[in-house]
């Protein structure tokens, strides 16, 4: 059996979707319209933290053209959802923890009426103190935002969720207990430890130590297409939702649970998606569309305005990373210690994994024999932070690359050379003790950069110490 040469793999074949896209024919969720379609809108929380005392929807319901107004009591299934674990309400019950909580949803004949109806809903709150950053959330006297026992969520949620996200074939729940704080201590809900070698011995070998605290900020994905979807009941009585997403199967799981129907009665179809970058992993419009279609039995379209997308969509985490690096006078890294705190906002989302991934990549692509890192995920009342392109590693890289340049400067070694001297290689181990095989590419990328710099006088002139 001889296979001829590869005809397509390795070639810059034009994209399969390009023709439709340049003709303006690709169908995004908002381009879909059905007869008798209603328009959905959300009444968002008015304050970031407070107890809901009263929701009065009577005026909204009485408006001509309004088909339904739903609040928590109208949720037929389990009102809880969330990717990692169900700490979010589909429609806020008892309290709001973030400005991005939905208090009520409306379906109306036109988008204009839906917007008016949303405004006509009256909500009274008893305001609670707000935790707006890591320091406030970690203070001893900070109010605890979520229930102490995560198991209390689990009981309510049925069995569609796994405490640490998606479980896994070799996943040992008992073993993970130490990491995942089933009994929340304050607002820290995950504490991951990395221990490699002997940190004290490592720093004893160090001739130069650099210590810094890096603070990274919150950013948004800014996909050009805002969160959007359309749903209807199909000819078999199943709920069908076209949306803009990254994983329709997980959307299905969460929609079915909130509606209290089986997953095979829900069909999620990804419409052409106008960018995502991690920001469309979490549910946005899908559950609300499901609820509104379920209640009205009519097609419903829901599209967030840009302002809603910027205000309420998930974000990249703000981190505070304290880290201390040691190197010998010969320029070999010998020890690294770090404390990583990530602000995941009011809900976990994928924040558990994002923050953890930052901590376990803190050493960068370098061999360091002795490492101690503690990673904590922290709840605040900020807007939920979850997945975004890079998933915690961009923040880690800002810290490790800052440290590498500082060490190189102190040691008077060219920064590129210093990286080459410490780059991971076959036989060396990563921060998490993974011993590398033949696939390590970091040195090749640095060597290539070096070659480009040396060949280009305008770049080479910056570094007379690069040889």
């Amino acid at each position: 059996m001889n296979k001829a040469k590869l005809n397509y793999v390795g070639c810059s074949t034009p994209k399969v979707d390009a023709v439709d896209k340049v003709l303006g024919r690709a169908v995004y969720a908002e381009d879909i319209r059905f007869q008798d379609m209603l328009y959905g809108r959300v009444r968002w929380a008015d304050i970031p933290h407070g107890i809901i005392e009263e929701i009065d929807v009577s005026a909204a319901k009485a408006m001509a053209g309004v088909f339904c107004v739903l609040t928590a009591k109208d949720v037929p299934g389990n009102n809880r959802f969330g990717i990692a674990f169900p700490d979010q309400w589909a429609l806020a019950e008892e309290k709001v923890l973030s400005i991005g909580d939905a208090v009520a949803i409306v379906a109306a004949e036109t988008d204009e009426i839906a917007k008016e109806a949303v405004k006509a809903i009256r909500v009274n709150y008893c305001e609670l103190p707000v935790l707006s950053n890591l320091h406030e959330a970690l203070a001893n006297d900070a109010p605890q935002l979520h229930a102490s026992k995560i198991s209390s969520y689990k009981k309510k949620s049925g069995d569609h969720y796994y405490p640490l996200g998606d479980g896994g074939p070799q996943y040992d729940k008992k073993k993970r207990k130490a990491e995942f704080l089933h009994n929340l201590k304050g607002n820290v809900f995950l504490h991951t430890k990395v221990r490699k070698g002997d940190i004290e011995q490592g720093f004893e070998q160090a001739d130069v130590i650099v210590e810094n605290t890096y603070k990274t900020h919150v950013v948004d994905h800014v996909y050009l297409e805002t969160e959007s979807g359309v749903g209807k009941i199909d000819e078999h009585g199943n709920l069908v939702i076209w949306n803009s997403c990254q994983y329709p199967f997980r959307d299905r799981r969460q929609i079915a649970s909130v509606l209290g129907i089986s997953q095979n009665k829900v069909r999620v179809i990804r419409a052409t998606t106008g960018g995502a970058f991690g920001g469309k992993e979490d549910v946005n419009v899908e559950i609300h569309i499901g609820l509104l279609v379920h209640a009205t039995r009519r097609p419903v379209r829901m599209v967030w305005d840009r302002e809603e997308s910027m205000s309420y969509s998930t974000k990249r985490h703000a981190f505070e990373i304290w880290t201390r690096w040691g190197a010998t006078s010969e320029g070999k890294l010998c020890a690294m210690e770090g404390k990583v705190y990530g602000d995941t906002g009011a809900y976990a989302g994928l924040g558990i994994f994002t923050i953890k991934k930052c901590g376990i990549h803190l050493a960068g692509p370098y061999y360091i024999p002795h490492i101690k890192v503690d990673v904590c995920s922290v709840y605040t009342n900020n807007i939920i932070a979850s997945a975004m392109r890079g998933f915690g590693v961009p923040q880690a890289a800002i810290a490790h690359e800052g440290q590498m340049d500082e060490l190189a400067r102190r040691l008077d070694i060219n920064p590129l050379t210093f990286r080459l001297m410490n780059a991971l290689d076959v036989g060396l181990s990563t921060e998490t003790g993974h011993v590398m095989t033949q696939e390590v590419g970091i040195k090749a990328t640095l060597e290539k950069l070096k070659a480009v710099v040396l060949k280009d006088p305008s770049l080479a002139s910056y570094w007379d110490d690069l040889k």
Binding site: S12, P14, K15, D17, A18, V19, D20, K21, V22, L23, G24, R25, A26, V27, Y28, E30, D31, R33, M63, E112, E116, H221, V222, Y223, L224, E225, T226, T272, T273, G274, G275, A276, F277, D305, R306
Partner: protein, 157 residues
Amino acid sequence: MSVEMNKTILRMKINGKAVEVTVKPTWTLLRILREELRLTGTKKGCEQGDCGACTVIMDGKAVNACLVLALQAESKEIETIEGLGTPDDLHPLQGSFIENGAVQCGYCTPGMLMSGAALLDKNPKPNIDEIKRAISGNLCRCTGYVKIIDAIGKASK
């Protein structure tokens, strides 16, 4: 609550065809195109002129359809992405976008193409700076613009 208001007949030419449509004074050209005429190739990104996803050509000039009140388009000639080319007869820019990998999620693509077309109509051989400037009102989050600039440059050769 809004009072039902007078609707007015708007007449304009879209992609060479005379069009008559009943509109409310508050509607924008973008809404007319997408929801009334179902020309959904023109995209809605921000509705306040910040992103260029809804760029169309009006009387020869690239404009944001979200910043034109529908009634301001009375008697105007509008070109949208639907009028730029067909599968069998792609506009050179469309072919170049496909060929040069300038399309990713595609949401900025119609607006980019209309800005590119407005540029080439006026300046058939633009240099790189002119191309960059011509699409500087069109945001793209996927491509880093590099392949889009390249594609417009190659289409003009």
